[in-house]
């Protein structure tokens, strides 16, 4: 049928792994409630598969052979690679949607030279979203990766083009497909500065994202992003891809910079799906 849902959410490992350390438990639970709302919206959309546009953290791809973009076309995935006690998510097996993913890949290839992979291990970047969005792991997943870790990184206009290509591909298949992008905005994860968040930068980015203002979203360069938003800010690529895929305005459903133990500005949003002309 077509794309039936588009949204974005955070994926930092602390969201599950350090849940017990959060001081502001009321705010933490509000965040979890917003994630559960997102789960319900995806279910209500009738989605038969969920594309997760992630920015993985060396679970599959390394500097020996790093794709800028990759789509998973497997029928089964394993995760998390991390110590389950650390992430507080048990190791599990997640259904894929191999045939559908291959069709989507074929379509995307008309405009973006995407890589594909039939093997894929999930790290926290996908497992944390799935933990909230499909807690029974009964929705087939199509993992997608944008390299946000090992520079050189793909330029933002290419991330936009990739989102448009994914949209075209979803609209070309008979199945109902949901898509989420998962990244961080400003954050300095996995450094001694973990917990540092540039809230003003985040809110400005989210404003551009919710307006789905392509020109304003393209107006970042990685050098500036690194200074203002940390190396975690490179993950804005996943959010930009979703804005391009959705085409419509966004609705910010949750944001806070007040849960620093999660080491990211916690975000949940959805987009209206203005059909591409």
């Amino acid at each position: 049928m077509s794309l039936v849902y588009a949204g974005v959410l955070s994926h930092a490992p602390g969201i599950t792994g350090r849940a017990d350390l959060a001081k502001n438990t009321g705010l933490r639970d509000e965040f979890y409630a917003a994630l559960d709302q997102q789960r319900q919206e995806i279910e209500a959309s009738g989605a038969e598969a969920l594309i997760v546009v992630a920015a993985e953290h060396f679970a599959n791809f390394f500097m020996n052979n790093m794709p800028a973009y990759c789509i998973g076309i497997g029928d089964r995935y394993e995760g998390p690679i991390e110590d389950p006690d650390w992430l507080k998510i048990a190791k599990t097996s997640v259904p894929g949607a191999g045939d559908l993913a291959a069709k989507i890949t074929r379509e995307v290839m008309h405009t973006v030279d995407v890589a594909y992979a039939e093997e894929w291990k999930f790290d926290h970047g996908i497992m944390v979203p799935l933990n909230f969005l499909t807690p029974q792991y009964d929705l087939p997943i199509i993992p997608v990766n944008i390299n946000c870790q090992g520079p050189p990184l793909t330029p933002l206009p290419r991330a936009w083009a990739f989102g448009e290509a994914l949209r075209g591909a979803c609209d070309s298949v008979p199945e109902k497909v949901a898509i989420v992008g998962t990244g961080g905005i400003s954050h300095w994860p996995a450094t001694p500065d973990s917990g540092k968040i540039n809230e003003a930068w985040d809110r400005d980015f989210l404003d551009r994202l919710m307006r789905n203002d392509r020109a304003a979203l393209m107006d970042y360069d990685d050098e500036e992003t690194y200074q203002e938003a940390g190396q975690g800010g490179f993950e804005i690529r996943t959010f930009i891809t979703i804005a391009a895929a959705a085409g419509g305005l966004g609705e910010l459903q949750f944001y806070t910079a007040e849960l620093p133990i999660f080491a990211v500005g916690c975000t949940v949003a959805k987009f209206s799906l203005d059909s591409a002309s």
Partner: protein, 111 residues
């Protein structure tokens, strides 16, 4: 290339249970399979988070490795800070410390 090899060692360890079994059974043999400097080999032998951080190992790779070693969250952050104190600033990559060693979490052990 040597930092590359150190990261590759950790990448393979982090993602692969068979490599984790080899790590536990015969760490020396595993280390011997990679072209590493003495300093790097030692850091991996001792699980020296602080030195690996300063050498420029990508933070995500290092974080997963610290979790594999069972290091508690705030100890892991402290070990990176101690590494900088002992060995100087981060020498490569994009995971440098920018906050002067301060803690940015209001939660945790200090409360």
């Amino acid at each position: 290339m040597s930092l590359y090899n150190t990261q590759k060692f950790l990448y393979e360890l982090n993602r692969d249970e068979a490599t984790q079994a080899r790590y536990r059974a015969d760490l020396e043999a595993l280390i011997g399979g990679f072209d590493l400097t003495g300093e790097e080999s030692n850091a991996l032998r001792e699980g020296d988070i602080g030195l690996l951080y300063v050498l420029g190992v990508n933070g995500q790779i290092l974080m997963h490795y610290a979790a594999f070693l069972g290091i508690e969250w705030f100890d892991y952050l402290d070990q990176m800070r101690a590494g900088i104190e002992k060995y100087g600033p981060v020498r490569a990559g994009v995971y440098a410390m920018t906050g002067g060693g301060d803690s940015f979490t209001t939660e945790g052990k200090e409360s």
